[in-house]
């Protein structure tokens, strides 16, 4: 401690490495090694070969699941954007009290666990639940099955992930200097063109941030699709869980996990090159 604090502007020494060591060693043993384990299992179970990857990458079932996951994640991201942007805008431009109230709501949602929110949707969309009751009230007697469908799963995911999008966009919106907007207006920009040419580009970083975050989380989403989704339209995380849980097929499960991990890493690397990863969770 001595040398580092008293020579506040001085050069490197062994001290930072000592401070990092406990965490570094811990992460190595309990984070890196398990991941390596997954990689190894993917090529050694049932025997040393690439057969698992062959099946995962070429099998019709798996391809369908991957595609479904990708499309669902993209769809959820777009919906989160459609839902989140107006709300963030409302938060940034309302009276302080209103803004605070909405912020409170979003924060509450953000801090409530995925599980609890998934359950809420089960209640809302259940056959004896309020949504069905509402539909019956307006005269639809032959009410459709809402739960355990792609609809319920996607809707819940949008609800659960929207706060991530909202927070990201909101924080960018708050930082926009109102003087910029005023000067654009004074130069003749109004209404839609003001939005399109000035405001929207200024909020673009928030949109990019939020979208990448939501997309990546949605790719690996387990809880909600498993509990609320249709068993015929699984997402990748659910399938991995299924392989491990039901079939103890570690090889297959690991191979799928590695593919999921790879896709996630690629997306994040592209993002990192362009924006810097720390901004994602800033």
């Amino acid at each position: 401690m001595g040398s580092s604090l008293s020579r506040l502007t001085e050069k490197t020494n062994v001290w930072p490495w000592l401070l990092l060591a406990p965490l570094g060693i811990y992460m190595l043993i309990f984070f890196v090694v398990p991941l390596v384990d997954v990689a190894i299992m993917s090529v050694t179970d049932p025997r040393l070969s690439l057969v698992n990857y062959e099946r995962v990458l070429t099998g019709a079932l798996y391809q369908r699941v991957f595609l479904n996951t990708f499309l669902t994640a993209a769809f959820v991201t777009v919906c989160c954007l459609a839902v989140g942007y107006p709300l963030a805008y409302l938060m940034a431009h309302s009276k302080p009290r209103t803004a605070m109230f909405i912020l409170l709501l979003v924060t509450m949602s953000f801090w409530t666990s995925f599980l609890v929110r998934t359950y809420s949707w089960m209640v809302l969309l259940g056959n004896n639940g309020p949504l069905i009751a509402l539909l019956q009230m307006i005269g639809i007697d032959d009410t459709p099955q809402l739960l355990f469908t792609r609809f319920s799963s996607t809707l819940a995911m949008v609800h659960i992930l929207a706060p991530y999008m909202i927070m990201n966009i909101f924080s960018v919106m708050k930082k926009i200097d109102p003087a910029l907007i005023r000067s654009a207006e004074s130069l003749g920009a109004r209404g839609w063109s003001l939005f399109r040419h000035v405001y929207l580009p200024l909020t673009a970083p928030g949109i990019a941030n939020g979208s990448v975050l939501v997309f990546v989380i949605c790719l690996g989403f387990y809880v909600t699709p498993v509990l609320l989704g249709s068993p015929r339209e699984q997402m990748i995380a659910g399938l991995i869980g299924h392989q491990i849980d039901e079939f103890l097929a570690f090889g297959m499960g690991s191979a799928m996990a590695m593919v999921l991990l790879f896709i996630t890493f690629v997306i994040l690397t592209i993002y990192h090159r362009r924006f810097g990863l720390d901004k994602l969770w800033g």
Binding site: S4, L8, P34, T107, M122, P130, V223, L277
Partner: protein
């Protein structure tokens, strides 16, 4: 554009709020299954929760695991944060990135890894195993919060302390830590909540002996959608509400306390 945004915003607000609010009346429902509107209201399910060991034990497990995870996380993260915020060294940017790695890995992937790895170590279905896994998952968020705090720390305060005769150790104890305390508490809180709510890894590795509350809830939702879950959801929801609203109330209360008496004449 303005009015469109406004109305869209209001609709979305309802969308966000409705699911959160719905569990509260459900928890008081007297129906034996999910039914809305509830046929009647009673405290039965609250009583059921607080007397059923099948629910209380997982709750306790989660509290214990989250607490231990928080402790371990903070012990590892605090020195690491100091190293990364205050020192320059080769490989610093890589280390910075490594801290955030667990956030980039989907929990299902970690679950597979931990299931196998901790299984080999004989730590599956044990508190220890879950704690070790959850710590990895809590590290990034604790780091992000703490490093933001530390980056905003005024170094002149430490220079002042040194100049006034405090050795580097005394400076750390008397000046750095007390001022950092709010940041440390919030960082710990994030780590705690992250562990308490963590579902996916818990499903796979907590098992019979160390069953976490999320795992029990997950199983229960899957099997029978027990209304007790509405009770737990409501309780958790109110905990979050209190947690978020508390700082506002405290500062509102503080500002009501009368200021110290007017200064004597002459002082500026």
């Amino acid at each position: 554009m303005n009015t469109f945004m406004r109305w869209a915003g209001i609709l979305v607000t309802i969308f966000i709020a409705a699911p959160l609010v719905i569990v509260v009346p459900m928890s008081f429902s007297s129906a034996s299954s999910l039914q809305f509107p509830p046929p009647g209201y009673w405290f039965g399910y609250y009583r059921a929760y607080f007397t059923d060991l099948d629910w209380l034990i997982p709750t306790w497990n989660s509290v214990v695991i989250a607490s231990a995870t928080t402790l371990l996380t903070m012990l590892l993260v605090v020195p690491a944060t100091f190293a990364l915020v205050r020192h320059k060294f080769r490989g610093k940017s890589v280390a910075d990135l490594m801290m955030l790695m667990p956030l980039a890995v989907p929990h299902i992937v970690m679950a597979v890894g931990y299931y196998s790895y901790l299984g080999d170590l004989g730590l599956v279905h044990s508190h220890m195993g879950v704690i070790l896994a959850h710590t990895c998952l809590s590290v990034p968020i604790a780091f992000l919060v703490l490093s933001a705090n530390l980056k905003g720390f005024d170094r002149n305060l430490e220079r002042a302390a040194l100049s006034l005769g405090a050795s580097p150790t005394k400076t750390f104890i008397h000046v750095t830590l007390p001022i950092l305390r709010p940041g440390l508490i919030i960082s710990a809180l994030f780590a705690f909540v992250q562990s308490f709510d963590e579902t996916v890894v818990g499903i796979f590795i907590s098992g019979r002996n160390a069953e976490t509350l999320p795992r029990k809830m997950f199983d229960s939702i899957r099997q029978e959608a027990d209304p007790v879950i509405a009770v737990i959801s409501t309780l958790l929801f109110f905990l979050v509400l209190v947690g978020i609203a508390a700082p506002y109330f405290i500062s509102a209360l503080r500002s009501r306390v009368p200021k110290p008496s007017r200064s004597p004449a002459g002082a500026h």
